[in-house]
Amino acid sequence: MNRTDYLIIGNSVCGVNAIEGIREYDPKGEILVLSDEPFENYSRPLISYYLGGKISQQQTRFRDESFYSDMKAQLLVNNPAVFLDCRNHEIKVSKGRKIRYKKLLIATGAKPWIPAIDGFANHLEGIFTFYSMNDAISLAQYIQSLNPHNCVILGAGLIGLKAAEGLLMRKIPVTIVEMADRILPNTMDVKGSEIFQSYLVRHNSAFMKNDTIVKIESKDKRIKRVILKSGKKIETECLIVAVGVRPNTSIVAESSILVKRGIIVDNKLNTSVPDIFAAGDVTESPDFFENKHALIPIWPVAAKTGKIAGANMTGQEISYTGLYPMNSIQIFGLPAISFGITNPQPQNFEILEKYQPENNFYRKCVLRDDRIVGCILIGNINRAGIYNLLIREKISVAAFKKDLLEESFGFLMLPKEVRKHIVVGESMEV
């Protein structure tokens, strides 16, 4: 039987940051990383760039080739963890091997969710999810060999649109089917969705909103047509299902670890069982705004929680203060960034917004008690991070509300004490 000081399941951004977190405090302890994927290191968000032909597979790495050796971490690819024995501090790996750990991190991320659709079958050719490198490689190969005349994407969320962009770069027209009445329903508000939609339409994509796929028709084990709830039929040989992800909690299913939708962790990233930490997309972690747990499957959360979990595995007591959704989207040269609560019920919030169609400039700030809780920037994203800071530090914007929407927004618009506190680091009574 193998033993290790630190065992990490999952080798994506969360796992990688955990390695770094551990090494910041413990240069020696043994680290073992298990991955059920065949690749040493790749960045999930880069798969759409790969699909679009902007970068090679080699370029999807987000850490240098020497990373694992520099970090003295042993990585086992193609080695899914299949069973967790909390009591004995043991993990069973697929080939029957057991590994004993002192501290365990579950960073198994998420997996794409596939809704029940009539006619869907796993063996059908031409139906894809868009979540992993493997997904991207098979999709790219399929397109290469078949050169389909179009592609249907189910789901107009971030991943669906990223897939769309990749395909459009390969000159394949797309039709996007979305259940909601607008695209990017979770990231954008109505105006933001509109701006993106009109922009995408100009780039050869069609939208079917308030609609979904109810039936898949196939021929020779290959998809041929999809039928929508509205009755519309679309001939296609390629369907991408991108309706969202669910925490990948299967490894803890039979354990006593507390799971709701994701694994529940406290602000030190402990699960309900000692010596077992969890972080990243697999978790429901403390929410930034409210006293509850939330699923926020984004990179910044996976990186931050991974790093803190790693540090805490070495015995540190670093607290995770919670984050909020934040996304940076750039589709066909139109950049956009959103933070936090972007589309609230207006009663309890103050909403400031500004739209200039000439230059696709849109900026919106959602305020509660004079603090920013959400923000959208489209067209001009310069200095977006300052809004992030204002949200994170809960700085009152009462004194400079009118400037928040300026294209040239910067620290100069902040009151002097606040500005000096940030810029020079002088202490301030907050």
Binding site: M326, P335, L389, G410, F411, I422
Partner: protein
């Protein structure tokens, strides 16, 4: 347990607005320091294109200051970079242009707003490298009124 010894004292460039005279020589020095010839006259008279300055200059009325990357301890830009283009090297946050795809995650999280995106090029315009080659940030060296100074960030614990 103590922090890994790799985390040494690092220097941060601090902008003191009460002494910034708005001459913007820091930008000129930054451009020169990152030009091919590193000679102010040759660079400005003969190099095309010139690099962008990595400084974000804010000015309103008589108040002005020049901000540059703080090379944060737990740099969010490094944490959030999806390509590894933003990376920590010897305590400094270094940008490797060739890896960048222009996803703007760094722009989203940098609390100082000092990363300026070049949207058309899908790259960062210019990123402060703390003048690693010389070890002395050119903006600090040239600032005629010591509005830009190096602050020693000692270990907190």
């Amino acid at each position: 347990m103590v922090k890994n010894s790799k985390r040494k004292t690092i220097n941060t460039i601090i902008a003191r607005e009460e002494f910034c005279i708005g001459c913007r020589l820091c930008e000129i020095a930054c451009i020169t320091a990152h030009s091919k010839t590193k000679n102010i006259i040759k660079a400005f008279k003969g190099e095309y294109p010139l690099p962008d300055s990595a400084i974000v200059f804010e000015e309103k009325g008589h108040i002005s200051f020049a901000l540059q990357c703080r090379h944060c301890d737990d740099a969010l830009c490094v944490e959030c970079c999806i390509t590894g283009a933003m990376t920590k090297k010897d305590g400094k946050v270094i940008y490797r242009k060739e890896l960048c795809v222009g996803c703007w995650m760094c722009v989203m999280v940098c609390s100082f707003g000092v990363i300026s995106p070049d949207i058309t090029a899908s790259k960062i315009k210019s990123k402060c490298d703390f003048c690693l080659e010389t070890g002395k940030p050119a903006c600090v060296e040239i600032c005629p009124n010591e509005a830009l100074v190096l602050k020693e960030d000692n270990e907190q614990d």
